[in-house]
């Protein structure tokens, strides 16, 4: 729902790093988005096309790297992936768990010219 603000942040970070490197153009942007981050790729792309116009990032291709959710059981230390809606540990069925991956939302890298 807040993809416009998020896209503005992506643009600001990308341009800042590109300018520091003396770039004329940003050709590609690589984003890491965790499975548990509530963000929609299509919506980010939609806003991107509008707000990047007239900047050095205009026309840059957005690449989304989806990072699967991973959990660790605090009881038996088993590391496992999300299976349907069941968050509990598949090994000991414990529910005292922690999220070790899947919440990421970061700008990984940019390609500049």
């Amino acid at each position: 729902m807040h993809e416009l603000m998020v896209t503005q942040n992506i643009l600001e970070i990308a341009i800042r790093h590109a300018e520091e490197a003396g770039a004329n153009q940003i050709s590609s942007i690589h984003l890491q988005i965790g499975q548990l981050a509530t963000l929609v790729d299509d919506s980010i792309q939609f806003y991107w096309d509008i707000i990047s116009k007239g900047t050095i990032a205009q026309g840059a291709q957005l690449n989304f790297l989806r990072i699967p959710a991973q959990f660790q059981c605090n009881n038996c230390k088993e590391i496992y992936s999300l299976n349907g809606d069941d968050f509990s540990c598949p090994s000991c069925h414990g529910i005292d768990i922690q999220i070790i991956a899947g919440r990421e939302f970061a700008l990984d890298s940019i390609e500049i010219e």
């Binding site: 729902m1 807040h2 603000m5 998020v6 942040n9 992506i10 600001e12 970070i13 990308a14 790093h17 590109a18 490197a21 770039a23 050709s27 590609s28 984003l31 548990l36 981050a37 509530t38 809606d85 968050f87 509990s88 529910i95 005292d96 768990i97 999220i99 939302f105 970061a106 700008l107 990984d108 890298s109 940019i110 390609e111 500049i112 010219e113």
Partner: protein
């Protein structure tokens, strides 16, 4: 020639940095703060009114009210006896740390002990934006249904305190407390839970006592 540059910067970095600044500003002023989140109609504003009334005479309370439009909630908080500032987000689905910074500019921080922040009614977006509050509180209500922890895991995971409001309606609705509690337990086993009704006043006193206790431990540090 194309060159790849590693960035590895959190997209929420700007918001998170401002949240840290808000937090240290509140701490310097000795203000203990709570960020209250909920779906629309869960009873956030009623709970805030009850909280202001319960804290009256014991401590000085201010409220920052976030809504898409109107100042109805800030008016209710003021009527109950608190200093209140309204933020109209004009369509944004959540409060962010910059809005809180601007609201703090409008308050006399030396005249406040406890700050209650009422977020925009929404179970998705507010959980992604840290504000700098000391504790994040979710107000759930029984008529919303017992499936909510399963449907909104991000919100249920990211909070420190859960208030289950409108418990006076339990005899009249189909709400399976055990199923609800199991979902909460899986997502957030260390969460602090209160059962309340703003209509009958049940459970409000233990919530007030908890706030006063937190404020005391906070001030001691």
């Amino acid at each position: 020639m194309t060159q790849r540059i590693e960035v590895l910067e959190d997209i929420f970095k700007a918001n998170n940095s401002q949240a840290l600044l808000n937090c240290s500003r509140l701490e310097k002023a000795g203000i203990f703060s709570l960020n209250l989140m909920a779906s629309p109609g869960a009873g956030k504003t009623s709970l805030i009114e009850q909280t202001i009334l319960g804290l009256k005479g014991k401590t000085r309370v201010a409220v920052i009210d976030g809504d898409i439009a109107t100042s109805m909630d800030a008016d209710r908080a003021e009527k109950a006896g608190a200093t209140a500032v309204q933020i109209n987000t004009g369509g944004e689905c959540h409060l962010d740390a910059f809005m809180i910074r601007n609201a703090l500019d409008r308050l006399d921080l030396s005249a406040i002990d406890i700050l209650l922040i009422e977020n925009v009614g929404n179970l998705v977006c507010p959980s992604a934006f840290r504000l700098g509050a000391h504790q994040n509180v979710l107000v759930a209500s029984t008529p919303e249904g017992h499936d909510k922890p399963y449907k909104y895991p991000g919100m249920y995971q990211g909070v420190d305190v859960l208030i289950i409001n409108k418990i006076d309606l339990l005899p009249y609705i189909n709400f399976d407390m055990q199923f609800f509690a199991q979902g909460v337990e899986i997502l957030n086993p260390r969460i602090r839970t209160f059962l309340t009704s703003c209509s009958t006043g049940e459970g409000i006193q233990s919530w007030i006592d908890w706030i006063l206790h937190q404020k005391k431990s906070f001030s001691a540090v």
